[in-house]
Assembly symmetry: D2
Homo-oligomer: 343 residues x 4
């Protein structure tokens, strides 16, 4: 941690900062510059002290600002865990060399719809079936999902087709329920900083796909992962799904693919990409899926629907079965070009 | 709802859109333009159909895009409720002519700290005591609040000083617990789209301060309010607290004060402003508080701390008692200038 | 400047950074932390070296990132110029205690329109007449302004009504031309980083209103001012006019009023606010004008039009004469509440 | 164009809108909805009327908002020019099937540096040499480029190695000068809406790379292209280079790769990607280059430097010769995977 003093800071203000730091048992180093003094902390700062100390120092007279040298997350950082984390679930390996594709409808609408979708996923080489049972909808008047009945269908479809399953959980008290039906939990973008939910998932040790919030910085996202990891659950799969766009004229969000190599550099956790929610339009999903794999993503989360024209949710961004099949073929070429297999 | 067709759309594509609309019992009107055809829906669209229909139409061949004529929220809209909503709690009137100031520490740290703050709030003319018992923190290693013990202290301080109280709720299952201690619930910015939480608060009928999420558009914010209102709880106070900033060099968020007149135009709900979280720096809180009142806000939510240099949370953005007293005096002049009393 | 090394940086990587810094004649200070080493530069860094050195250090092996202790601007900084700058033009004092209002039509359309607007500005207490002769328009098909004929009308109207005048310059080669007609030049938001233009204005010594670009951080804005100041022109008036919004559903831009106290803290330059372009809707202009003055702005730049329903440019955001008169009366109260006169 | 009236709009307000539209010789169609009335314009709206009419209608009583059915750009639109535009310069074909890579140093620093870079570009299969002679720098104290001497070196290097050349122009009066030395002009992101510059380039008919501004929407970008096209210059190459990021902790900008398929859908113009400025860090350039090609870009603009550790500009984001060589090999595989050759 580095404290930059104002250029006109008084010697006693500088001294007070040094004493405040020393009062916590930390070593302060004075760095007189040409214009202003900076004070560095040359000791390990206990994680629970970090934010409080930053704010205390920022509120002292003569202090201009405080900047961080170390990162706030530890367990999510590659610095302390250099090898890639691999999440294994029902024989599916996420974060290994092989590209993993999860696909399925936005919302589970009926047994027929889900099974038809699952058959397509299986046939085209997908490994994970996605499907929403409890749906977060911007409007209270939109279809909210089938609930437990949807979970039952998801479990049945997964078993029938030999696919692992993933579905969203929104309420911390539903973690046990949902993990009794699905193989992987999903934390939606709107809940990335829902701390009771992250804590409950951390305690459950269940594999989780953690979507990035639309205005979350990468550090905030990794700190959300830290909530899960710090409760003893190492099975975190990060999912980029788009950040707030300049406008919504053409896409719903701006897919931040640079997050893929950045997260790969900063963290050991697997990272997948959801091009469907980011684009909000099936027309751009194939291009962004290929780009995601080329950028180094470990997998994709794609929306498909047997009949998008009748979908109760997100029809506009869902691929039809034949488009998905074509996409999977194209993805095999791109995956191969970056040296990774896609079955 | 208006469906803009592509300029080269085939007659049968146009016909298919008209038939799709008619299939839902709605009337479609054809508007041939110079370059392309638009199709309007000249019937009331049932709210539960709106999003699904939009997506269905967007996925049809020949369709360029679908735009909305009506707003997606009804109960939050001034169109259907022209007079201002007033939320009354323990004799405090939010949304009336009088400006209401809520103040207190970010986190409740001790009986002494909270009571000292409450005495300052009361003495300076504040009406509501704020204080966090369950704290949402970006890092799992930061101080997470005193929990139930904090709630007890808040209730006691409110009663001792004759102040209404407000505190944050993060878990839908804590709504009953927290409303047994506090007069007003607060939904934090990170939870603005936590639908199980909004639904539980809607069912409780308890007054709620609903903060705007940092990347939420105004329509998304009003739709979050709609979740609460549609469960039969009319006691919603909106709170602007800053949107995602261009950088975090000088402020933590960008306080969007234009949201105040915009929300006043679109909705009947009271709107207050939290300048402390937006600025993240006590230095700018007074200026933005005055600006908020001048812009037409019904009140403020301000962080104060008897001794910011020892705060466990958000010390850098908390006002000291004497700064708060000066601010309240300045606010009285500004409130008066816009024709509103501040006691 | 502080160089944060990666946690696993090798001793020879740390040594190489120290040597690189020393090679520029600067003193490097080693700050070993708990997890990683930081290296501080304890010398004044020549301004022309700053950016290059940052980039060189960032590209060295073992370096995690480089952060700044000093600010990149000098002449614009209050640290080196503690007293407020006042820009005087034709007897109008911008940046003094008195609030200054500039108003007029977006585009000069005719003698009649401009003179009618000028009469209103004068009568209501405005000091500066604004009016566009060369208009930057997003579409090449929109009205582009009257050009030199507009300049002539502006000069005549200013002289007739005893108002100072301001108009936009877009081309560095027009600086001489435009300053022979207008008292103050305006750099539009789209040109904030048009360096040939800033340099030409710096050389001219002519007073300039420098609008903030819609995605410019405050530091980038002050660096744009530094371009003008560093050519020997101290007459810079900063103008906040809104940053890129979350959406454009209700306002064109998000007026960042917190920029006012932030700039007042960082810089000695006067700062005014343009609520018309930010809002893009006359309905919100009055509220934001009052808020701007309450936030500490030195003045306003407001669009008015004798007949907005016939305006060739920005009719939707222009105030009618009677609305402007009401606004000026309200502003007098707010100015008074913050201890500043508005004539 | 569709005018949505407020739900409580009076019949005479609706009538006034219809008459205003008719007054321009356009046909108005009334679409009564369930809650409010919309009025459609069922005629071709002349381009020069479009913006003015929108603003006039928005300022009328009873109007809620005005939305567009047609796009504001015509010449840039694929609707009116379905086949891909191909820009040919010195035997290089941009926008054809072959992927084109432009590379070189951010700033031309010396004959040796430029020639060394050019040799690398040529050897690795690049077709265009980039190099800045007039540099836009955020700080006036940073290196501003070699000017005309740089242009001379660029021309010589291009001829020596058989590479086309591209360099930035910032001043409309430099268009002739620069086009006498370089094969392609570049409009930098900060100048995307510098209309005198766009007009001068339009008049010159010289090929131009038009970078997207960091807060420009795609429609604003295509309207900037329209400025060039509408002066009779069809040789526009669009270049995505990153939009304003959530923070600058890890990348300078957020590369918006979804802009590639969106622009390909909306427009016939070729689109290339600059991953170097977006990332601001060489570490992420290779991943984003591969992703850009996978997303469908027609080429890349990459910064390389023979010795980034000594670069005067943007050293941190420049690739070394061997990294560039590796990248080109990887790109060949990705290009092949998406069915396009890269020599």
């Amino acid at each position: 941690m580095i404290v930059a003093m104002k250029s006109g800071a008084a010697p006693e203000e500088i001294q007070a900062v040094i004493e405040k730091i020393s009062g916590f048992g930390l070593k302060a180093v004075d760095i007189p510059g040409g214009e202003r003094t900076a004070i560095g902390i040359a000791s390990a700062i206990p994680p629970e002290l970090r934010q409080t100390l930053t704010e205390l120092l920022e509120s002292m007279p003569g202090v201009d600002r405080v900047s961080q040298v170390s990162r706030a997350y530890k367990l999510a950082s590659r610095e302390f865990h250099p090898t890639d984390t691999v999440v294994m679930v029902k024989g599916v390996v996420v974060g290994g060399n092989e590209i993993v594709v999860a696909a399925g409808p936005c919302a589970i609408e009926s047994r027929e719809q889900l099974f038809e979708a699952a058959a397509v996923v299986k046939r085209c080489g997908g490994k994970i079936l996605r499907g929403g049972a409890f749906k977060p909808r911007t409007s209270p008047y939109s279809f909210q999902g089938l609930g437990v009945e949807g979970l039952r269908l998801l479990k049945e479809a997964g078993e029938t087709f030999g696919l692992a399953t993933v579905t969203e959980v929104m309420d911390p008290h539903d973690v046990d329920l949902i993990s009794s039906f699905a193989d992987i939990l999903q934390v939606g973008a709107r809940n990335m900083q829902n701390y009771p939910l992250l804590t409950a998932i951390g305690d459950s040790r269940w594999p989780v796909v953690l979507k990035r919030g639309p205005s979350a910085t990468i550090d905030e996202w990794l700190l959300a992962a830290e909530y899960v990891l710090s409760r003893g659950n190492p099975n975190v799969i990060l999912c980029e799904r788009g950040v707030h766009p300049l406008d919504r004229e053409h896409t719903r969000y701006t897919l931040d693919l640079s997050a893929v190599p950045v997260v790969k550099y900063l963290s050991h956790l697997p990272v997948i990409v959801d091009p469907s929610h980011a684009c909000g339009n099936w027309r751009y999903v194939a291009a962004m899926s290929k780009a995601a794999i080329a950028a180094g993503a470990d997998g994709l989360l794609v929306e498909i629907h047997p009949d998008p024209g009748r979908a109760l949710c997100d029809g506009a961004q869902s691929l039809k079965p034949d488009s998905f099949e074509n996409l999977m073929n194209d993805l095999r070429s791109v995956a191969c070009a970056v040296g990774r297999p896609l079955p």
